[in-house]
């Protein structure tokens, strides 16, 4: 097989609960500042969990001038357009007439398209005496909204993003629950290695902080109910952890052919060096206690990158702060690293940002790029009490200044899809 094409990360963009752009997010993650607070998107005071990691003081109009396009955009689509715009500006390139066919797009997108008020309208017009009668939709009073319908389509976000940024090559939207963002970036890497694109805008976006989304996770008992101490609620790997905190946001990377990026003198954050992707095939709701599944994903990511565990200096864990995920993931990390487990720092930035579901893997990939640039392994906040089942080298107390040669970013999805991405420090890339 011929040498694998190298892919550079040349731009990052973030809209997260700890900052509406990449610099603010990264500054807050380094000091372990939490973005978790009481939910303000809607009145959640009746729910068992009333806290979340929301995007604050965000205005799409300041980023996207096209008002007509914004009408078609949901909350998470707005985050995506802002993060995509920041990533392109950061990279200093964008699709141009002449190369738009060589630009790809890959997104991990949310699972929910229908807004709560739209469901309420259907309920009001179609449900009588507890019976659903579809003929209510034909009622002239029914507020039929074609724009809302378009917004609800599974690829609505991708359609708006490709239109806004003008990319006309390969375009895909994927959804494997919490692994979506990581798998989207992994797909982008493969698409570039196959030669189907020279540039890809890759990332993820999600917002389930609405009555239906919050309900879904409350029903499963997956969320922390520490409503009185929101900033401490997400504490991955801590012995007292009791569930994850639901977040929202978006993250995007600009991926570019390595040689082309070098040639134009672009700032290169890192090489996106490898993608690992596996299925646990264990149980729909549980992860395997041995770490089976994530182990294969991490091994594949390293193999795809031409790396070994010796080259890994930091792991950005999935680390949701649920009892089972953190235990299973630590077992996987221990299995991967073997005797080196004490050497390699591990942290979960979900301790500050909460869990951004389909956006999580993409946001955390951007965090890894920033971590490599600045030589900082960000702190795993809120870790107080060690859990013997989570015996890895956690970045406790404060962030660690250290050169990061190679980094792994894990995203482990509900239902068993696992994604692991490998990044390499640009100076570690052998010159050809």
């Amino acid at each position: 097989m011929t040498a694998r094409r190298r892919v550079a990360v040349t731009g990052v963009g973030l809209v997260t609960p700890v900052g509406n752009d990449a610099p603010t997010t990264w500054a807050n993650l380094q000091v372990g500042r939490s973005g978790v607070a009481g939910i303000r998107n809607f009145d959640a005071t009746g729910f068992s969990t009333r806290i979340g990691a929301e995007i604050k003081d965000f205005s799409a109009e300041t980023v996207i001038e096209d008002r007509k396009l914004l009408k078609f955009a949901s909350r998470s689509h707005c985050f995506a357009m802002a993060a995509g715009e920041e990533a392109l500006r950061d990279a200093g390139i964008r699709p141009q007439p002449g190369n738009e066919h060589r630009w790809g797009f890959a997104v991990g997108a949310g699972m929910m398209g229908v807004a709560f008020n739209e469901l309420e309208a259907v309920h009001e017009h179609c449900v009588h005496d507890e019976e659903f009668n579809p003929n209510g939709l034909l009622d002239p009073q029914f507020p039929a909204d074609p724009v809302a319908f378009c917004r609800s389509q599974t690829n609505a976000g991708l359609a708006l993003l490709t239109r806004h940024f003008g990319t006309q090559g390969y375009a895909t939207a994927v959804h494997t629950a919490c692994a979506s963002g990581g798998q989207a970036i992994g797909t982008a890497l493969k698409v570039m290695r196959r030669g189907q694109a020279d540039y890809v805008l890759a990332g993820g976006y999600d917002s389930m902080l609405n009555p239906l989304g919050l309900s879904a996770f409350c029903l499963l008992g997956a969320l922390s109910t520490d409503n009185d101490t929101p900033e401490r609620a997400s504490r991955p790997f801590d012995a007292s952890r009791n569930g994850f905190v639901l977040g929202e946001g978006a993250g995007f990377l600009v991926l570019e052919d390595w040689d082309a990026a070098r040639k134009r003198g672009a700032h290169i954050y890192a090489e996106l060096a490898g993608d690992g992707n596996s299925l646990s095939s264990y149980r729909i709701t549980d992860s395997h206690p041995s770490g089976d599944g994530p182990i294969q994903a991490m091994h594949q990511a390293l193999a795809s990158a031409g790396m070994t565990p010796d080259d890994v200096d930091y792991i950005n864990a999935h680390g949701t702060s649920t009892l089972m995920n953190d235990r299973s993931e630590c077992a996987a990390i221990r299995a991967l690293l073997g005797t080196q487990v004490g050497r390699v720092p591990v942290s979960s930035t979900k301790s500050c940002m909460g869990h951004l579901i389909a956006a999580a893997g993409a946001v955390e990939a951007a965090v890894c790029a920033l971590a490599i640039r600045d030589g900082i392994a960000p702190v795993s906040a809120n870790h107080v009490q060690a859990d013997p089942d989570c015996d890895v080298n956690l970045v406790r107390g404060e962030s660690k200044k250290m050169r990061l040669r190679g980094v792994l970013s894990n995203s482990l999805g509900f239902g068993g899809s696992n994604s692991s991405l490998a990044f390499r420090h640009p100076e570690e890339v052998p010159t050809s």
Partner: protein, 431 residues
């Protein structure tokens, strides 16, 4: 393309309104039988758009035997699990696995990929919240407080777009690379393209690709009709009087592996996957270009991927969804690629409707039968070719293909276009 990593199809499964199983569906098409009739799943007698190709007379347990699973997944997932199960079973890969040495099984499973094109969220599952909305009477606090008494605690599982990926993995112990593509209509077609790419690159030694969808529900029909996309009688691709599309439901699936592996285990080869192309026109959710630019680029990319020229293509299975704009631009794309030398063109949606995320995959599975039998089936609902579409070689009657290579086209919201190229198995038909 390197011969060593040539990709073949060794299993296929499908269910849709036109039948349960690939042979039943093929029989309907070749006999000119359309499954489109008045909607039966709700009283649509007052609806202007009230036609569909529904799956009727198929028990859920025929689709998925495990009854416990029925409560945890949606109708679309039942279709997907059925089709994928048949493709995997028919490929003989499971009985082959039984012959492996004990320590070879885990590495084998780690190289079994699963790729789904999923319709994603549906409206129906949200209706599980109606009793709660009634109980809450518009009070969001009560909605939150009485949640647990009114909604199944496992509700989230029902709406997961990636259910088929998860359950195919669990049921068959496939643990390799995977994707669930939620790119609306082109999801299924992209799933097979990604599965083939994974096998070609060696990320997987074999992969199942499945497309499944169930767009047939009141809100979807209602909104599509309001947007002017639905036909109120029949689906007539490329006909001068075509009005729009009509929904179907179901799933289709293929099992892909390398030719080398398939030959080594003497598997029955249904066809060879040659290449794919994927583009977007970047026109937003609903708009498409009238010149067919995105589609012609997708076809050119697929031809280049397969290292063949337009003259090598023996038949075209068009997207042909029956909407005036899509069919017209599709004809233009074919003209721009093939010039005046367009191979015989057909389409199958007149028989089983538009299955949205499953459409491209179902078309592909039926195309394998067309290649096997060396027949380009006629479009039974075609009365008169739209004179605006030039000399598009479509027919009401079956046509002979001009080679054993077929081009399958799939288009969707967001200006998405996918082109797939498949060839009849070597020796089965003269090129």
């Amino acid at each position: 393309m390197s011969e060593s990593r040539g990709i073949v199809i060794t299993g296929a499964g499908a269910v849709c309104g036109a039948g349960l199983g690939v042979d039943a569906i093929w029989g309907a098409i070749i006999n000119g039988r359309s499954a489109i009739s008045e909607i039966r799943s709700w009283d649509a007698s007052r609806w202007p758009a009230r036609m569909a190709a529904e799956v009727t007379g198929v028990d859920n347990r025929t689709l998925v035997e495990d009854r416990k699973l029925h409560k945890l997944i949606s109708r679309t997932d039942l279709f997907g699990l059925y089709a994928a199960g048949v493709a995997i079973q028919n490929s003989g890969i499971l009985s082959h696995r039984e012959t492996l040495a004990e320590d070879a099984v885990a590495p084998f499973n780690d190289l079994c990929g699963v790729f789904a094109g999923s319709g994603g969220g549906n409206y129906r599952s949200n209706y599980d919240f109606f009793p709660l909305l009634t109980a809450a009477g518009g009070d969001i606090r009560r909605f939150g407080a009485e949640l647990g008494e009114n909604v199944n605690p496992m509700w989230l599982l029902k709406i997961l777009p990636n259910n088929v990926v998860c359950h195919v993995g669990i049921r068959h112990n496939f643990k390799g690379t995977n994707a669930c593509i939620t790119n609306q209509c082109v999801g299924g077609a992209m799933a097979v393209a990604e599965a083939a790419a994974a096998v070609r690159s060696g990320e997987a030694d074999r992969a199942v690709a499945v497309g499944h969808d169930c767009p047939l529900e009141p809100e979807t029909v209602f909104h599509y009709d309001r947007l002017g996309l639905m036909s109120h009688d029949t689906l007539k691709p490329f006909d001068g009087t075509r009005q729009g599309t009509i929904f179907g439901e179901g799933a289709a699936s293929v099992m892909l592996e390398t030719r080398r592996d398939a030959e080594r285990r003497h598997a029955r080869v249904l066809g060879e996957f040659l290449g794919s192309g994927c583009t977007t026109e970047a026109t937003g959710v609903l708009n498409i270009r009238s010149d067919g630019d995105g589609l012609s680029r997708a076809i050119q990319l697929a031809l280049a991927d397969a290292s063949i020229s337009p003259a090598d293509v023996g038949m075209v299975v068009a997207h042909g969804n029956g909407t005036p704009a899509s069919d017209a631009s599709e004809a233009r794309a074919l003209t721009s690629v093939f010039g005046s030398d367009i191979p015989p063109v057909t389409g199958f949606k007149w028989a089983y409707g538009h299955l949205i995320a499953a459409s491209g995959m179902l078309d592909l599975v039926v195309t394998l039968k067309a290649l096997e039998t060396n027949i380009v089936p006629g479009i039974a609902t075609l009365n008169e070719l739209d004179p605006g579409l030039g000399l598009l070689p479509v027919s009401r009657m079956p046509q002979p293909p001009r080679s054993n290579i077929a081009l399958v086209l799939c288009r969707g919201f967001g200006g998405m276009n996918v082109a797939l190229l498949v060839r009849a198995n070597r020796g089965s038909t003269a090129p």
